[in-house]
């Protein structure tokens, strides 16, 4: 897997779990922006397609010391030997040269689901059902995002269509398209301002600074997938949920 030179642009996200209150506005805004379908009964969470899934964590304590916290989980857009991209037989999912977004090509995906098994974050969702849009709702479908069909895998794509639109607008105005920034739908909707998004390689950006914050951590750091989504928390019991056991042995993953 040749390593792409991402010296200038690497999109990344930072989610501040101190601010996050699990309200779900990000997850709903993602569904609205990306034409997500819904079923009459979404009880089976293993077939419920929520690109941005919100997990509920707790501090293992008894009443009344018991506390809960929420952790929104988009795709991590893993930067090192991306687990899903490296296994896809039909090159239907690729890590983009510029920006490092892990995209999904719905018309090429053959639905073998090997990438779903490869992803440790369960960020990939397979269309087990035909997508159904009840009467009237076809009207609110966003033309910037293609509607998926049965039998293909879909996932968070860092709202790359918003990046494309931003670049088109910059080009139209004759500005330098490489300096373009954009905001994904989840970060835009978050009422507490818990989601930051930007270029990890730009030292001035929030995400670059915050990713070096002492409160920062990443999920399953030791696997070596180099996720591009960082989390912040000042509560130790939240950080302890980030990896199976916090042994300090060096990372093994990837070759």
């Amino acid at each position: 897997m040749k390593q792409v030179d991402n010296s200038k642009l690497l999109w990344g996200m930072v989610i501040d779990l101190d601010k996050c209150i699990g309200c779900g506005a990000c997850s709903v805004s993602c569904q609205a922006e990306n034409n997500s379908p819904f079923k009459d009964d979404e009880s089976d969470k293993l077939r419920s397609m929520t690109w941005l899934k919100i997990y509920r964590l707790h501090n293992h304590k008894e009443f009344p010391e018991y506390r809960e916290a929420y952790l929104p989980r988009p795709c991590m857009h893993c930067d090192h030997h991306t687990p899903c991209v490296s296994v896809c037989p039909a090159t239907a999912t690729t890590k983009d040269e510029e920006g490092g977004i892990v995209s999904q090509i719905y018309t090429r995906c053959i639905g073998c689901r090997y990438c779903v098994a490869a992803c440790p974050y369960h960020a990939r969702y397979f269309n087990w059902f035909d997508q159904h849009f009840p009467a009237g709702t076809e009207e609110y479908l966003n033309p910037d995002v293609s509607v998926r069909m049965r039998g293909v895998v879909e996932k968070c794509h860092f709202c790359h269509h918003r990046w494309m639109l931003a670049k088109q607008e910059a080009a139209y105005k004759g500005e330098d398209t490489s300096k373009v920034t954009y905001t994904p739908a989840c970060a835009e909707a978050c009422p507490t301002g818990a989601i930051y998004f930007g270029n990890l390689k730009d030292p001035e950006s929030d995400v670059a600074k915050l990713s070096k914050d002492p409160r920062a951590f990443r999920l399953l750091e030791k696997l070596g997938t180099q996720p591009k989504v960082y989390y912040l928390t000042s509560r130790d019991w939240v950080k302890e949920w980030s990896d199976n056991n916090m042994t300090d042995a060096p990372a093994a993953g990837g070759h």
Partner: protein, 729 residues
């Protein structure tokens, strides 16, 4: 043909070659693959010119500014928060983000005016002319004395128009489902001699004492609160604001707070008085409070509740009470607030008063980070004389035959689902020959209505939202139609005007838009105010930054306010008041209805951020993210402590019948250390018998399970506390 090896080889090579190089099979394979990429049943959204319209979200009374992305001005494809509105600064809550599902789920929308034959249940569509004619005739026949109006629409000019219609009709009964604001007014009158609302400058507060207000789960103006929480949580751990949450369960707010004071349900007032005790004993009291009349009286009342005594009664540890009181007293900018759950349902008056008194001791009225006694923004005082009666009394009266109704009009109200006593509500509707609903959605009551004159959704009509609860500055948000109505509904304001004319009276305004223009003219007349603009002042320095420039003319004002969706006055002057502790309220324990032997467990109905508690049906996108230990298939889950479950031989996911004095139903069981042992917690908002399959017949309605408890001080029905039991079969 002489068989030979060479001949054989030639033959097989030819056959293989033929297969490989004819275009037919490859073309076929490619075409079939392309077919799978363009299935006719997979919709392809039409592209077009993209533009945004600014308006206000009106799913709740939060007043958030939104921008709706339109394609060719015809299709609304996305709702985004309006970063230029100081209320929500671009943020949204889950429902606001799913708003388009109210506009476009045709299955839930009433397509146009129609009447229903009560015997056969058959509905027939009507033109608006025919519908209005029928309505006018029926209302004349029913006569004012036989008519009751239920107005669920508060905090808006629409409220006044409906009130005026009731006056013009001479309706004998006019009920507004209880409004928590009344409790605030009563507490403010008691302590400050000023029956008015008050707001909280939360953005600048350093210490916040919250008495059961679900701050992060939809309290008052939900997104404004969430943004305030974001500011509290910014900066270093030392500089952050500290939140102390008094709450009967480990709610989300309690979990995110620095300290959770787990008070037994109904005992919060004691916690508040104990904190007052600590402040007075440690003479950490503002001079104007110590010198206020009746202070000694309040002092002796508070002395009865030392922290250790309070600990016994409320279950909150004494040092937690001390720690919170000291932090509150010592901080430069601190505020105490109450208003349980979303802040509009009536909370116990004693609690509202005690918490306001804490602010009195702190002396933070009209001060940075304190309580702002902000007067209501001027409005059209329509239907002033109409008295607000109790819907519950009316329903009981009709049930017992003491009252006879001939017409019942429902405005933004769904008594069959949300009424204080659904059984009584059902009987009320059965016994009333004419029920008219103005709802744009097929809610339970509208399904039973004899005549439906459907309103439009908030995205298709003019509307306004008065200052959301808890706001420290005056703010009136305005919605406007983003495009032509999707179905055949009509704005209720216009419909009422036509009805009034048909009844031989002159309506105050021919159209709702005119009423709104008149209202904005009143706002402009104050000479103050700002519209939402590019660079709204940062929250920290918004308040007190002056009353704003105002506009030269009413038309100018309306044009800018309609364009930006907001009028607000950040002057931050509050009414000047004099503090008096003379009228103190002794603490009366709040006993939920239902006998304790038969129904041993207190039942608390709570609200969460993921279920609209009935005001609007929960949209599919939000129902989808409800966790599977909260709603599974058709069952809602109660929350109980593992010990309580163990005692009843229940484990995670078991199915039981939850029974109370007024209702019963199957529920799932979720074990959580967040629940107080011996108390059952039931999430509110589900239990609908209508709407689309994502919601229909799912869960249990909290309204049916809890019998309203009269507040000992003002008789308001408190609907958050009941008694219940669990049984297997």
């Amino acid at each position: 043909m002489k068989p030979s090896r060479r001949r054989f080889l030639q033959f097989s090579m030819g056959a293989a070659g033929a297969f490989l190089f004819t275009p037919i099979n490859w073309k076929l394979m490619d075409d079939v693959a392309i077919w799978t990429q363009n299935w006719s049943w997979v919709p392809v959204p039409e592209d077009g010119a993209r533009a945004y319209t600014t308006t206000t979200c009106r799913i709740c009374n939060g007043g958030c500014g939104i921008k709706v992305r339109l394609i060719d001005g015809k299709r609304a494809v996305k709702i985004e928060g309006n970063p230029e509105s100081p209320i929500n600064r671009g943020g949204l809550c889950a429902w606001g983000a799913a708003g388009l599902q109210y506009l476009y789920m045709d299955e839930n929308r009433v397509p146009g005016p129609m009447k229903r034959d009560r015997v056969t249940g058959v509905r027939t569509r009507l033109t608006w002319e025919a519908a209005l004619e029928l309505a006018a005739a029926e209302l004349k026949k029913a006569g004012g004395e036989g008519t009751a109006i239920v107005n669920g629409r508060k905090r808006s000019t629409m409220n006044g128009l409906i009130r005026q219609f009731a006056a013009d009709l001479g309706a004998a009964h006019y009920c507004e489902p209880c409004d928590g604001g009344d409790v605030q007014k009563a507490a403010s009158e008691l302590l400050l001699g000023r029956p008015g609302r008050y707001g909280f400058d939360l953005e600048r507060a350093q210490v916040i004492l919250s008495f059961n207000a679900a701050l992060l789960e939809g309290w008052a103006s939900p997104v404004r609160m969430m943004r305030a929480f974001g500011t509290w949580m910014s900066g270093t751990e030392e500089s952050r604001a500290r939140l102390f949450q008094v709450d009967p369960r480990a709610s989300l707010t309690a979990s995110k707070a620095d300290t959770w004071l787990p008070a037994k349900p109904g005992t919060e007032t004691i916690v508040a008085l104990a904190m007052a005790n600590v402040m007075i004993a440690g003479n950490m009291v503002a001079p104007e409070a110590a010198g206020a009349p009746g202070f000694d009286q309040f002092k002796s009342l508070a002395e009865a509740y030392s922290p250790s005594k309070a600990a016994e009664l409320t279950g909150v540890e004494a040092d937690q009470i001390r720690e919170a009181a000291e932090a509150f007293a010592k901080a430069e900018r601190a505020v105490a607030l109450s208003g349980q759950g979303h802040g509009n349902t009536p909370e116990p008056l004693s609690l509202a008063w005690a918490v306001l008194a804490l602010n009195g001791l702190k002396g933070n009225f009209n001060k940075e980070g304190g309580v702002y006694l902000t007067p209501e923004p001027p409005g059209l005082d329509l239907g002033a004389g109409v008295e607000n009666g109790s819907l519950l009394e009316l329903a009981k009266g009709v049930a017992q035959g003491k009252e006879k109704l001939s017409a019942l009009l429902l405005f933004e109200s769904n008594p069959l689902f949300n009424g204080p006593d659904p059984a009584a509500m059902a009987e009320l509707m059965d016994k009333t020959p004419l029920v008219i609903s103005f709802s744009p959605f097929w809610d339970e009551s509208t399904k039973k209505a004899d005549l439906i004159l459907p309103d439009l959704t908030y995205l298709e009509r003019w509307d306004d939202v008065d200052t959301p609860l808890g706001m420290p500055y005056q703010a009136v948000s305005v919605t406007k139609p983003i495009f032509a109505p999707r179905h055949k509904g009509a704005p209720t304001g216009d419909v009422l005007a036509k009805l009034t004319k048909a009844l031989g009276k002159t309506p105050p305004f021919a159209k709702y838009e005119d009423a709104l223009k008149a209202r904005v003219a009143k706002l402009q007349a104050t000479g103050h105010g700002l519209a939402a603009s590019e660079e709204p002042a940062a929250p920290m320095d918004l308040l007190g930054s002056g009353p704003g420039k105002g506009w030269g003319s009413a038309e100018e004002a309306f044009e800018e306010v309609a364009a930006t969706g907001l009028w607000y006055n950040p002057s931050g002057q509050g009414d000047q008041v004099t503090l008096s502790f003379e009228k103190t309220l002794e603490v009366k324990p709040l006993e939920p209805k239902g006998d304790a032997q038969h129904y041993p467990y207190p039942l608390v109905v709570f609200d969460t951020a993921r279920v609209a508690s009935g005001f609007y049906a929960n949209p599919p996108f939000v129902t989808k993210i409800i966790e599977d230990d909260f709603l599974l298939k058709k069952d809602i889950f109660i929350n109980i402590h593992p010990e309580t479950a163990h005692a009843l031989h229940l484990k995670e996911g078991s199915k039981v019948v939850l029974e109370s004095e007024t209702g019963q139903g199957w529920v799932g069981v979720h074990l959580t250390q967040g629940a107080r042992p011996g108390v059952i917690y039931l999430p509110a908002g589900l239990g609908h018998t209508t709407f689309d399959p994502t919601l229909k017949d799912k869960g249990l309605s909290g309204a049916a399970m809890v019998e309203a408890v009269e507040d000992p001080h003002n008789g308001q029905p408190l609907t958050f506390l009941g008694r219940a039991k669990l049984r297997k079969a």
